[in-house]
Amino acid sequence: MKSPVKYRIGKSSGFQVLTIILAFACVVPLIAILAYIIKAGITKINWQFFVNLPKPVGESGGGIANALVGSIIIILVASIIAIPIGILCGIFLSENKKSRLAYWSRLCVDILQGVPSIVIGIVAYFWLVKPLGGFSALSGSVALAIMMLPIVIRSTEETLKLLPNTLQEAAFALGMPFHRVILKVVVPCGISGILSGVMLSVARIAGETAPLLFTAFGNPYLSTNITKPMQSLPLLIFNYATSPYTDWQNLAWGASLVLLVWVLLLNIFTKLITRRWKVQL
């Protein structure tokens, strides 16, 4: 009936070893991916790679300048749309904890966080691409802005919730009006948490491809007009990775390395900030 003590202890340590092995096995794919992409991408990267446009198949020396510029423009426009709305909505949620509108609003933010990115792409297509009569970088930015919103809102709300109430009360006691209390006292105190949320959301959308497929669409030429189709790094990787030509695939490896370094640096940087300022996300 009772198993001997030795057997039980053996089982316990056996399970511990198994847990440790499984836990560290999770890291293996990430290291494999990092190693492979660095190995495949590092030889393609040089100065020409950053300043040239992609060349047709057969010609060497193509670059990803259009995708880099496009990515930066699309992300900038998305940030301009999403950051003010996100921060204001986060303030609203942290200031009105009990109201019915805040409950529904919070629920909708939760829903928005779980919506598959491809669905947001479809919606942006019907909201902007169809009415404007063509694919445009602006519609891609709006799609990405919708994906940024829940992260910015959540981090703003959580950071402001952590601030002591006495801070606000002291400011009100001095006779400061509400908007000045929020903008001059509350937001500056929580700025590090808000900023890390913003950076996290930028890191998240920098690698998004699915919503851009039917919105920004991609463009083999350098374009800075946000009402026209525009290339972006993830789109370039997707299009060239699935192409049968080695030249294009090599370009995609270099672009993957650039994108990976960009996204991982943003993430690590965010983590360092949050640790330094002891913000919980």
């Binding site: 847990t19 494999a32 909505c89 829903i111 990115s117 909201w127 890191a203 699935t242």
Partner: protein, 328 residues
């Protein structure tokens, strides 16, 4: 120092005197003050209203997404009816639309990925939550696992094409199945890697919340570490771990790019887990820009609507469980 304060006091009292002696100036000043406070109250109201509008905007945004999807899929709902969901053939050229192969493809890839990833994510959660909650090595592991979620999915897909597909192909050769390499199994493997962090990080925080009294009680009765984990920690955190699995599932269902790149993209009903197929998200990504007929396009949007509703329900249940767990 002293003199300056004195000077200041003097000028102030002079000011007060002047105000007192010349009533005209006083009214101007108080009028100014009233004007300023009136303006501040006005700005305050505008600010409050802006905040409320932003809160309302989120509700409108989500309702708008849902309405757009419903309105745009009406042509297909009208033309194809409910049997659309279990029609087995998808042939846009002959104008036949059945979503069953994609439903099966989505369910197969997601659940297979879940089954593969659960041992790893639970092991990570137990390792970080119970065995080694502090120290530099667990901290490094925790951050590395979180970085898994940060890698863009298109890079997972590209790596899958270059590395995983040849491996799966040689494995299929040994097994004696059609060595295509791409297919449901390959995409499940990629998905499994991608969803590990979701269940792991949630599980870790849940396991750390187990009251130490319960654990100590079990230890004092002579339980080994494994017995404590199995009969105290796991039962206590059961619902939280389940919520983590649900969130991973929601993520796996909606994942598009990595799956699109390695699943093979055929609209046939998959015969086994190694055969190529298509998921709902991947078929939308592949065919949306090619859809030239209203019914075709709207059939794809209906897939998006189904995807939206399913992920919303799964995420809602997961979030509900988490909030109930953390309140206790």
């Amino acid at each position: 120092m002293d003199t300056s304060i004195n000077n200041d006091l003097n000028t102030r009292s002079e000011d007060a005197l002047r105000v007192f002696t010349s009533p005209g100036k006083a009214t101007v000043k108080s009028a100014k003050r009233i004007k300023r406070s009136y303006r501040q109250i006005k700005t305050e109201n505008v600010f409050r209203r802006t905040l409320t509008i932003m809160g309302l905007a989120m509700v409108i945004l989500v309702l708008g997404i849902m309405l757009t999807l419903i309105v745009q899929s009406i042509p297909s709902i009208k033309a194809l009816g409910i049997s659309y969901l279990w029609g087995k053939t998808w042939d846009p050229v002959r104008n036949i639309y059945g979503a069953f192969p994609f439903l099966i493809g989505t369910l197969l890839t997601s659940f297979l990925a879940l089954i593969i990833s659960i041992p790893f994510s639970f092991a990570t959660a137990i390792f970080l939550g119970e065995y080694y909650p502090k120290g530099w090595l667990p901290n490094l592991l925790k951050n590395t696992v979180e970085l898994i979620a940060a890698v863009p999915s298109v890079i997972y897909g590209f790596w899958g094409i270059a590395v995983l597909v040849p491996i799966v192909r040689s494995f299929e050769l040994k097994m004696g199945i059609d060595p295509v390499g791409v297919g449901i199994f390959t995409s499940s493997l990629i998905l499994a890697v991608m969803i590990i962090p979701y269940a792991a990080s949630l599980g870790r925080s849940m396991i750390q919340m187990v009251p130490s009294m319960l654990k100590e009680g079990a230890y004092s009765l002579g339980a080994t570490r494994w017995e404590v984990i199995r009969s105290v920690i796991l039962p206590y955190t059961k619902s939280g771990l389940f919520a983590g699995v649900l969130l991973s599932l929601g993520r796996a269902l909606g994942e598009t790019m990595a799956v699109t790149m390695v699943i093979g993209n055929t609209s046939l009903l998959p015969k086994n887990i190694f055969s190529p197929g298509n998921t709902m998200a991947s078929v939308i990504a592949n065919e949306f820009t090619e859809a030239d007929r209203t019914v075709y396009l709207s059939a794809l949007i209906e897939l998006g609507l189904v995807l939206f509703l399913v992920t919303v329900v799964i995420n809602m249940i997961g979030k509900r469980i988490i909030s109930r767990f953390t309140k206790e």
